[in-house]
């Protein structure tokens, strides 16, 4: 997807120590490429929001530098921030404002003249146009999140930060979000999102950065990472203990011979039907079947060697 390898964000030796003393970020170095979707993956308290909030100007870095293009976020904050749109983790809006007013307010705040056509386009793209005169307090949580997205997009940012865009969002809206993010990417917007869910990172991202306890542990192309770490398991519970030979199939059996497990790489499910066909042919009957994904936890164990 990336048109080139031009770097749009450069983070250099970034450290953040909050007042209470614990380092929330230690020496982060990271470059984001223009036009990519980058997912920051990490557990609660890893430092994802801190990293985003520093880049957006909400939190002050303790040390280090961040460049947006050639603009340093503190020295050249006007240029840097003009390029950025942010949808923060928490749903915060002016409850008694109308949707259209709050969106236009954001555009003004970023120093851009009002543009009714642009407002209409943004609201329509987010399916908010028919709610434009509604007070925000009357909207559902999912719609509020879209309003925040509209506020972030109304000044035509080149970079969009989405801090846990799908927290508390149902399956349909999640799909919508993902589609919207992909559409945005097509228009050349660079997107950085955070998530707790590996599936989300897998679904969306071109590259993934894993962060834990303020340290960026690993940054990798998504496909590479999935190949290495994204394991999935198919577990079959048998009706009767296994008696037939299945050593030619990539299956592990449990000691009581009542359970078979097939482990495969995420996104590479072709093996499943092969196995099922062979089990049927050999008359091996199962009463239950389920799949397990490697959790973020498993991946951490894989990388760091310790539990979270």
């Amino acid at each position: 997807m990336q048109s080139n390898n031009e770097e749009i964000i450069q983070i250099k030796d970034l450290t953040k120590i909050y007042q209470d003393g614990l380092p929330a970020l230690c020496n982060i170095n990271l470059s984001i490429k223009k036009g990519e979707i980058f997912a920051l993956l990490g557990p609660n308290g890893a430092g994802k929001s801190t990293l985003i909030n520093i880049i957006c100007g909400i939190v002050r870095p303790s040390a280090g530098e961040v460049y947006i293009g050639t603009s340093e976020i503190r020295k050249d904050y006007r240029m840097a921030r003009s390029a950025i749109g942010l949808v923060p983790q928490e749903l915060v809006t002016d409850m008694f404002e109308r949707v259209i007013d709050t969106v236009n307010f954001s555009r003004g705040l970023f120093g851009k003249p009002q543009d009714p056509a642009r407002t209409q386009k943004v609201l329509q793209d987010l399916s908010l146009w028919d709610k434009k005169d509604a007070k925000i307090i009357t909207l559902s949580g999912g719609m509020k999140r879209r309003v925040m997205m509209a506020k972030a997009l109304i000044h035509d940012p080149k970079i969009l930060f989405l801090d846990e865009p799908t927290a508390g969002v149902d399956v349909n809206l999640r799909r919508d979000m993902w589609d919207m993010v992909r559409e945005l990417q097509k228009t050349g917007v660079t997107i950085i999102l955070t998530t707790h869910y590996i599936e989300e990172a897998q679904e969306m991202a071109d590259r993934i950065g894993i962060i834990n306890q303020g340290k960026l542990i690993l940054v990798e192309e998504k496909n590479e990472l999935m190949k290495k770490l994204g394991k999935k398991k198919l577990v079959l519970n048998l009706r009767t203990p296994l008696t037939k030979d299945i050593s030619d199939l990539p299956l592990e059996s449990s000691p009581d011979q009542l359970q078979l497990t097939y482990t495969y790489v995420m996104g590479n499910e072709e093996g499943i039907s092969h196995i099922m066909r062979h089990l049927d042919e050999r008359g091996i009957d199962y009463k239950d079947i389920r799949t397990e994904e490697s959790s973020l936890e498993d991946i951490f164990v894989g990388i760091v060697g310790t539990k979270l």
Binding site: I58, A80, V92, D94, F105, G108, L109, F110, G111
Partner: protein
């Protein structure tokens, strides 16, 4: 300079004023009327004139000052406290707008409201007493400077407060007593000598005195002392705000 950003904040704040226009206007009109009924009618008859000005007319500048100080502080503090409280301040912090421009938007709106309310009180007062304004330009200068200065103080309180109680505490425990004791409703010459000296430490005295001078040409302290003191307060407020933004105190962790 992000003037459109300033305008966005300013308009947003003014909208709240207009949304609650009735309360915004009704409360100063009612309280002014009450003051006139109580002080102007009941007490004035026994007070006689002060420096050739009837007591009812004498308290007009003090009444305006009282409202301007409380309105400025409460509007200035509420404006910035609300987004801090609700979290919507994230957007202001992440916008390409300088601290000075943020202050300009919020304090400008708060001061505008105060000037509007001051004008409403002057109009209401006209119903009760005849008063004159000898130095209209000076009157406006004091009106604007005081509104700006105290809106700025309010802004500082709004940045400092971490609960609604604290927003109330300063106007209630500091501004209102200082205004009442600062010669809003009497000339300090009416006080015993010791209290006259003590009152000189009350900053509000200088504001009220200068403001009253612009009406009737009478004052407790020299007009230029008043002007200089007002400017000093304004300057102090600006310095404190600048320090707050520089250190990120309670805004940017």
């Amino acid at each position: 300079m992000n003037l459109l950003g300033v305008k966005a904040i300013y308009n947003f704040e003014m909208k709240r004023f207009f949304r609650t226009l009735f309360q915004s206007i009704a409360s100063p009109v009612i309280s002014t009327s009450l003051y006139f009924i109580v002080f102007g009618s009941a007490i004035a008859s026994r007070m006689g004139e002060i420096d050739g000005v009837s007591y009812g007319a004498f308290i007009v500048p003090g009444l305006v000052m009282l409202s301007i100080l409380t309105e400025s502080v409460s509007n200035g503090s509420f404006g910035i406290y609300m987004p801090r409280f609700s979290g919507t301040i994230y957007e202001i912090l992440s916008a390409p707008i300088s601290s000075f421009e943020i202050v300009l938007g919020y304090v400008g709106a708060a001061a505008t409201k105060s000037v509007a309310i001051g004008s409403i009180i002057l109009i209401t007062a006209r119903v009760f007493v005849e008063y004159r304004i000898e130095h209209p330009i000076w009157m406006l200068i004091f009106l604007f400077l005081t509104s700006i200065t105290f809106s700025l103080m309010g802004f500082i309180i709004g940045l400092w407060a971490d609960g609604f109680e604290k927003l109330q505490v300063v106007p209630l425990l500091i501004i209102t007593p200082l205004t009442f004791l600062g010669g809003s409703f009497y000339s300090i010459e009416m006080l015993p000598p010791l209290w006259q000296k003590v009152t000189l430490f009350n900053p509000v005295l200088y504001l009220v005195s200068g403001f009253r001078w612009s009406f009737y040409g009478i004052s407790d302290v020299n007009i230029f002392t008043s002007l200089i003191m007002t400017l000093v307060f304004l300057f102090l407020g600006l310095v404190i705000v600048a320090l707050i933004f520089k250190t990120g105190y309670k805004i940017r962790q």
